[in-house]
């Protein structure tokens, strides 16, 4: 009796899209499922933009982190306007300087009469892109170099908060990634050994994990903060900070990896691979690990916000990065004084960046987690 395996073929168009579904590996399926999660998809775009800004921050920012205007301390934010006297053109209003008659305090207010035209690709403060390439073009800024241009206002030293925020993104966004890398390595290593080998290896790794998890983080950071020599260069402090954050932060991944291994060990297809003669290394890397790459990616994505927030918090209380390195936490230190915050609320703008980035990572992680298992509906 003939053994046929095909049914009456349907219309050609249906066949083609159906075929692509059939040869789609797990990554393609995941991508399709991910795209359906609108919020996550938008968040991905947002984060890509943020990271592009971070990579090219010297170019994107209207000015540099150190450029200051001695006269324009705590200047309020300017708004971009489009039409002036019937003419179309980008500009912001300048400042006029007022003295309060009773307190003799100097304040800056927006002067609707003065115009500071702004444009794209303008010449401005010179910089070194990535420390290597000289340049002085900025993505946008005042057409006349040297004019005050503070979309987010200026801080206590007369520096542009927006530009500093853009430079901060480089530090704050990459510290998350460095921490994630350490977590990935330590988590998979310990979790994998634990889950696969079992026995005393498993027991000792789990106890280690539990001890690390029960250590309160803040005292450790404070101790570290006290230990760090003042004369260390900022980059070294940066790496140490991320290292410390991840040394305590890898434990959850080890547990996740371990439990995944334990459950996968019992699957029929893993047994089939064992019966094919696979050794433990091949079993792990070829047969088991691919099943939860996606979960790991999703989980890691969800952990980046906490690393960003950790760094922000540490720098905010003075234990992490310090001047002259600029990060969002460092910028927000200024907002600790309530009088500053009350008088000059725009110094809180860097927090907006943090909120957007953290939300974006959370939504992205959600979407990735949903897409991580494309084999269920």
């Amino acid at each position: 009796m003939a053994l046929t395996s095909s049914q009456t073929p349907p219309s050609k168009q249906a066949t083609e899209s159906a075929v692509s579904l059939e040869v789609a590996g797990q990554w393609r399926l995941m991508w399709w499922k991910f795209k359906r999660h609108r919020l996550a998809f938008v968040s991905l775009i947002v984060l890509i933009i943020f990271y592009l800004i971070a990579i090219f921050c010297e170019f994107v920012a209207p000015t540099t982190t150190s450029k200051f205007w001695r006269d324009y301390v705590y200047a309020p934010p300017q708004t971009i306007k489009f039409v002036h006297d019937g003419q179309f053109g980008l500009y912001v209003n300048g400042y006029k300087f007022e003295r309060d008659p009773r307190t003799f305090e100097k304040t800056w207010t927006i002067d609707n009469e003065t115009i500071i035209p702004i444009g794209l690709f303008v010449k401005g403060e010179p910089y070194k892109l990535w420390g290597l390439f000289r340049g002085d073009r900025h993505l946008f800024g005042p057409t006349e170099a040297g004019q005050p241009f503070f979309l987010w206002g200026s801080d206590k030293n007369g520096r542009d908060i927006l530009s500093r925020s853009i430079y901060s993104s480089r530090i704050s966004l990459t510290i998350g990634l460095v921490g994630v890398l350490f977590t990935l390595v330590l988590g998979i290593l310990f979790g994998g050994l634990s889950g696969l080998l079992g026995g005393w290896v498993d027991t000792s790794v789990q106890r280690l994990v539990e001890i690390l998890m029960s250590i309160p983080a803040l005292p450790i950071y404070m101790a570290f903060g006290a230990m760090v020599p003042i004369d260390w260069p900022p980059t070294r402090i940066y790496f140490m900070t991320s290292l410390i954050i991840s040394l305590l932060g890898w434990t959850w991944l080890a547990r996740v990896v371990r439990s995944k291994f334990l459950s996968l060990r019992e699957e029929d297809f893993v047994l089939a691979a064992r019966l094919d003669g696979c050794g433990p290394m091949r079993l792990i890397f070829k047969h088991m690990l691919p099943s939860f790459y996606s979960h790991i990616i999703a989980s890691l994505t969800l952990s980046i916000p906490s690393m960003i927030l950790s760094e922000t918090a540490l720098s905010f209380i003075g234990l992490g990065l310090r001047e002259p390195v600029v990060s969002w936490g460092v910028q927000l230190k200024d907002a600790q004084k309530i009088t500053n915050l009350a008088n000059y609320p725009w110094i809180l703008f860097p927090a907006l960046s943090i909120v957007i980035v953290v939300l974006a990572f959370n939504f992205l992680g959600d979407g990735l987690r949903d897409a991580a298992d494309p084999y269920t509906l």
């Binding site: 046929t4 395996s5 059939e22 789609a24 047994l271 064992r274 019966l275 084999y375």
Partner: protein
């Protein structure tokens, strides 16, 4: 390391080595035991053992299909896993006669010695959904064993996989697809292809059609039979479905709570069973002829299948057996030969005349 015979090569010789004059079995289980510890308490102390497989001995002859049948907890799946060394038996031996004629005890082989056996003894799994890695293509899944064993070029492996896919009735072009593209019956064909790619001598088929639709079962059973003839395979057919056993097997071993209760040739077993459990089992199978609905006396067993972690004394079946006497409560009946090829473990086997299945 000698080249493995792939499906594209000539079929194996089935003529036994010339210096034996009686049929020597391909596989012989001797007093096989597999027990699992029972842990209680906070510290998970071992308080006892469950004997999933309890002193089991039987033979499998080359070229036959031996059925292993029983209900849940009887140990048939565990035996299959012990034979392929997914578990390491805790007692007894599994004697396997290699092609060269040497006898190996699979139960005590070291892991590195096992590697060579892996191509000779293969397994067909029950669930075609969980036994295929969803993240590997069909080609990768089937060729994995060849890849691991080594010594085959990519081109040779591709050819072997294509030939195998043809043999199981799938289009070779499909080999770059992923399992989710296939239906249950097609997946089971992939599972079979994976098992047979190395031209094995013994195939353990663990409930190979239980998870399939009824109309697909017959296709797969026919396929397995055709391949057996073509590749000269020996099957150990594990199932709980008696009608499938009746159709597919030459001989049958009936198990209850880890012990063998009866072995016989299929027709003998079904027409003239000698153990009360076999009789009850056969009686419980629904007759698929509505006109015979109330025709025979249905044997109603009391109670449930015994718990292997706390089995009854003596003959495990005695609490449910309508013919049980005092000796059944105290002494485990030995497996005795009643007629050629028909063994039973029952104190009263010789006196009882039991009802089998009539042909309809």
């Amino acid at each position: 390391m000698s080249n493995l015979p792939l499906s594209t090569s000539a079929p194996r010789l089935t003529v036994p080595p010339p210096n034996t004059d009686e049929k020597t079995p391909l596989l012989e289980l001797k007093n096989l035991e597999m027990r699992f510890p029972v842990k209680r308490g906070i510290l998970s102390r071992v308080v006892g053992y469950t004997k999933a497989v309890n002193d089991v001995s039987f033979e499998v002859y080359q070229g036959e299909t031996l059925g292993l049948v029983g209900e849940s907890g009887c140990g048939k799946t565990t035996i299959g896993r012990c034979i392929v060394r997914a578990y390491t038996p805790t007692g007894g031996s599994i004697l396997y006669r290699t092609e060269q004629g040497t006898q190996l005890d699979l139960a005590t082989l070291e892991p590195n010695e096992l590697r060579d056996i892996r191509t000779d003894i293969r397994m067909i799994f029950q669930d075609p959904y969980s036994s295929l890695n969803p993240r590997m293509t069909v080609y990768e899944i089937i060729s994995e064993v060849l890849r691991v064993q080594g010594g085959h070029s990519e081109a040779k492996m591709k050819e072997a996989v294509q030939t195998m896919l043809n043999k199981v009735g799938l289009r070779p072009e499909y080999m770059h697809r992923y399992p989710h593209a296939f239906s249950g019956g097609e997946r089971q064909r992939i599972v079979i292809a994976r098992a047979l790619i190395t031209n094995p001598r013994l195939v353990v088929a663990d409930e190979s059609v239980a998870a399939l639709d009824v109309s697909v079962r017959s296709q797969i059973l026919n396929l397995m039979e055709t391949l057996q003839r073509e590749l000269q395979l020996t099957y150990l057919f594990i199932s709980h479905d008696l009608s499938v056993i009746r159709h597919s097997c030459d001989r049958v071993v009936v198990m209850y709570v880890g012990r063998i209760v009866e072995t016989a040739e299929t027709d003998d077993l079904f027409k003239t069973p000698k153990h009360p459990y076999t009789e009850a089992l056969l009686s419980a199978v629904p007759i698929d002829n509505p006109r015979q609905r109330n025709s025979k006396e249905r044997i109603r067993l009391k109670g449930e299948v015994a718990d292997p972690s706390n089995p009854p004394t003596g003959c495990f079946f005695h609490p449910r057996c309508q013919y049980a006497t005092d000796i059944c409560k105290t002494t485990t009946p030995p497996l005795e030969t009643l007629a050629t090829g028909h063994t039973v473990a029952c104190h009263h086997a010789k006196e009882l005349s039991l009802q089998g299945v009539t042909t309809h």
